[in-house]
Subunit: 394 residues, 2 copies
């Protein structure tokens, strides 16, 4: 894996999760980095989200302490104190200003953060920081995820080699507008702070905000970017042509991680892109694609590999957008199964059934009344989703 | 079962469903009845819905032909012709005006209605009309339902005995605003037509529009009422005090049927009322209760009997309403598990877990910022929901 210069990583088990799994991680830049964040739209925000939003007003960051197994959400004033205290202890051990440290949490809501367990481990976490720790960090931030999600890309900016890397977690509670997902993008590029913020916001809107696992959004979603300038390129801003190179690389990385998150959706066996074209405007296109992507009847049909386009039509019909049923066409990859609002017959459905056996395919819906387009990436709804989420935590 | 005067019923198997199950039914009033209907809000309306809306403009009806196994939805112009032709053939056999006949369909979307199979059976259907046929009608209208849904009540109106009876089907695709549900209310009351319409609309809004199984609404939902005046009471209207007696009986019947529909939700093992109080206004109360009632994470937790209030809080937080997390309290029946935004501890959760073992209980959410209230009735999300809906129809 290509690493950006000057970033160190460490992770260990602090006993927050059961069975000694890795659950506490630290990401550290050797120099203060320019930084930006995009956070959950849920009105109930976890304590670490509140703290991070506050600290990122300075656009500067040097370390992120991440725990899994406990969301530190709905924990009141004490939760906020716990986030501040653990961040302060990290700062003290790193000998940096506590304003340069944020925390990030994911896991169960409503249980007080076991802050003593965390504080006890911080000296060890700091002592073991190393460029080699990335893989352990990628593991420590997972909850019900089944695989690590890391992607990196190297680009050339004004003659200098620049590396962008991002690590993410996803699984359940994934919906447009992020849900329980955390992603940390780390780069050594030298970029003006407002341009960095702009790139992050746009890339998130095009990728992480266009995926859904179960339509639920969480209290903890965060995407953070740190850019520490150690690639020593001449500083770029959104006015430069190099900005486009940077932005495209960032979007590509987030797109790969988004795909991994849906692929690893709780119980998911398939990734399916719902592509709506021909909508009246962008808002309607988005509504249509979201309603289809979140319909339980569509998602169970994906699992059953049943090209049940009636369920897609019914979802479109209730999605509160302008439609003319007699103009709608629907294809599964290149197999058209609805033309001008009517089914194309059994033969087409048999072919579509074969498309659905793939672990990734596209459902293309043309409303044929306008020019707006939207894509939402979803997964199927399976027995395992129910199993994973119906467990009683004694 | 108490029957209203003058209504006859019959049902048989026309081979629309597999395995010779009952799938074609006829409801007939010996005299033309005043009538009203409430229909799906889905923009894709099935052919019989379009026809029934048109014919009910006259507020008169004498017969309803109902088939299950095929929704006659997304079937284009031919679908509408099929609805008209089958209705006309019923009218001819009954020797009444075809304007007094509507059809109602439920089942798979997008397959042409097998109208010849239906027409061939209509003479037999008419010949076997009888007061004893109700139970068979209740069975013939079912799709994935597992039990028949009938409820009747007798009231006294101005010294006359009046009977109101309703028969319904539900199962999947049930969401606020009706979904695939059909209900037919039959009564011998003599009531002014606008008052009948008003009573139907209000009773539906308080009952069938407040239940959800999977958040999907269908193309075919219909609630029809026929009032044939054969009880010979002096005609009442909404100005009379007897109107209240009639309305309350109708709402009670619809409430019982709504409960049965949720209880029989696809795969459901529990009925749960989500009651939001203390919301800023009614729109916000409804949004909050609907979001919680449709959250997959909440519904799987109901199945797992896990009092995971964090999922309820997260659903409230994304429901696009005004909240103050530190004011929210949540109870399961009478066990408070969240007070002022914070969990009440393990002991309370253990008690709530016992409440969740019941097959019917209430989740009460007090937002504590206003006075508005809303109730949505939901069910749990289970393996069987996935199983029922993930089947590939070969």
């Amino acid at each position: 894996m290509d690493l950006p210069k000057g970033f160190l990583f460490s992770a260990l088990s602090a006993g927050i999760k059961k069975e000694s799994r890795l659950d506490l991680a630290l990401i550290y830049s050797e120099v203060p980095a320019r930084a930006a964040g995009v956070f959950t739209t849920n009105k109930i925000k976890a304590a670490p989200v509140i703290l991070a939003e506050e600290r990122l007003l300075s656009n500067k960051l040097q370390a992120i302490l991440i725990n899994s197994g406990n969301a530190n959400a709905c924990t009141g004033e004490e939760g906020l104190i716990a986030a501040r205290e653990t961040a302060a202890y990290v700062a003290k051990n790193l000998r940096i200003s506590e304003n340069l440290v944020i925390t990030s949490s994911t896991g169960v809501i409503g249980i007080p953060l076991p802050k003593d367990k965390i504080i006890n481990k911080i000296p060890f976490l700091v002592a073991s920081l190393s460029p080699d720790g990335l893989s352990q960090v990628a593991e420590a931030i997972l909850t019900t995820d089944t695989f690590k999600k890391v992607y990196a890309k190297r680009i050339n900016i004004k003659g200098k080699e620049v590396t962008i890397l991002a690590v993410a977690k996803g699984a359940g509670m994934i919906a447009p507008n992020m849900a329980t997902m955390l992603a940390f993008a780390l780069t050594d590029i030298n970029i003006e702070k407002e341009s960095l913020k702009e790139a992050l916001k746009k890339a998130v809107s095009q990728t992480f905000n266009r995926i859904t696992v179960d339509g639920d959004t969480s209290t903890n979603d965060s995407v953070i970017i740190m850019a520490n300038s150690l690639a020593k390129n001449e500083m770029i801003s959104y006015k430069d042509k190099e900005y486009k190179i940077f932005y495209e690389a960032l979007e590509e990385i987030f797109d790969k991680l988004s795909f991994m998150i849906v692929k690893d959706g709780e119980g998911a066996t398939k990734v399916v892109d719902i592509i709506v074209t021909g909508a009246k405007d962008e808002v309607q296109a988005l509504k249509a694609s979201k309603t289809v992507a979140n319909s339980l009847l569509v998602k169970t049909a994906l699992f059953g590999e049943d090209p049940n386009w009636g369920r897609i039509m019914a979802a479109l019909g209730r999605s509160d957008i302008q439609i003319d049923p007699s103009r709608i066409s629907i294809s599964f990859d290149d197999i058209e199964i609805v033309s001008q609002g009517k089914g194309c017959g059994e033969k087409a459905e048999k072919k579509a059934h074969l498309v659905m056996k793939k672990d990734y395919f596209k459902i293309k819906i043309n409303l044929n009344i306008g020019k707006a387009v939207s894509l939402i990436r979803t997964c199927d709804l399976t027995y395992d989703y129910v199993k994973i989420n119906a467990e009683y935590r004694t």
